[in-house]
Symmetry: C2
Subunit: 121 residues, 2 copies
């Protein structure tokens, strides 16, 4: 079940989403953002962010008081890899069935469909 080097586990993704949104920030910033969603300990966030650093998703540098963490891979790159892995795992690598599924099953507005239609051209 080894994951590729651009693939995040569930909680890691939650934290990366916060950091991508906030930009460079420290553990406390992320902790407080996560607290709004659910109960979590400060040290848990700290531990997770360290793991993300050793995995190469975050880089940290000394800040005024606490370390400042910043994403070291662009969101787009990471998301792309996760989509790729999902497509491989669930659709055996074929993107088209997923696409058709999304077009059929998800409620998309006329504007959204227009946008997709345009991007296909």
């Amino acid at each position: 079940m080894k994951s590729g080097k651009y693939t995040l586990t569930g909680q890691e993704l939650e934290i990366m989403k916060v950091v991508w949104r906030l930009g460079p920030c420290n553990v406390r910033h992320v902790y407080e953002a996560l607290l709004e969603q659910r109960k979590i300990a400060y040290t848990t966030v700290s531990t997770m962010m360290n793991i993300l650093e050793t995995k190469g998703f975050l880089k940290k540098k000394a800040g005024d008081k606490a370390f400042v963490y910043a994403p070291s891979k662009p969101q787009k790159t990471v998301i792309r890899a996760m989509v790729r892995e999902f497509v491989d795992r669930v659709f055996n690598g074929a993107a088209e069935p997923l696409l058709l599924h999304l077009v059929e099953d998800e409620q998309l507005s006329k504007a959204e469909l227009d946008e997709i239609r345009r991007s296909i051209k």
Copy 2:
């Protein structure tokens, strides 16, 4: 990290894919299909299929000698739920960004793009 009741873990999905493909079958059938891909123990498959039964993805009934397992949820339903969960988790529930991503990043043939264009109408 609680998963919805239609969401499968990695190895569970591998087994379900075999059962969906084969239709009603016993542990040995699945075991042999999986063996073609990788080394795995018979009892591992047996254990996994039991787990899938308790989770409600397979139902088993007594067969001639061994139990016969059959899917208890259609593939389409389960896949749909997994896509839904992925979209929620990675794209915060918005299907459109995933769709655009797929259209942009995946190499799709002209024929496939045609088919997608047709299904949008």
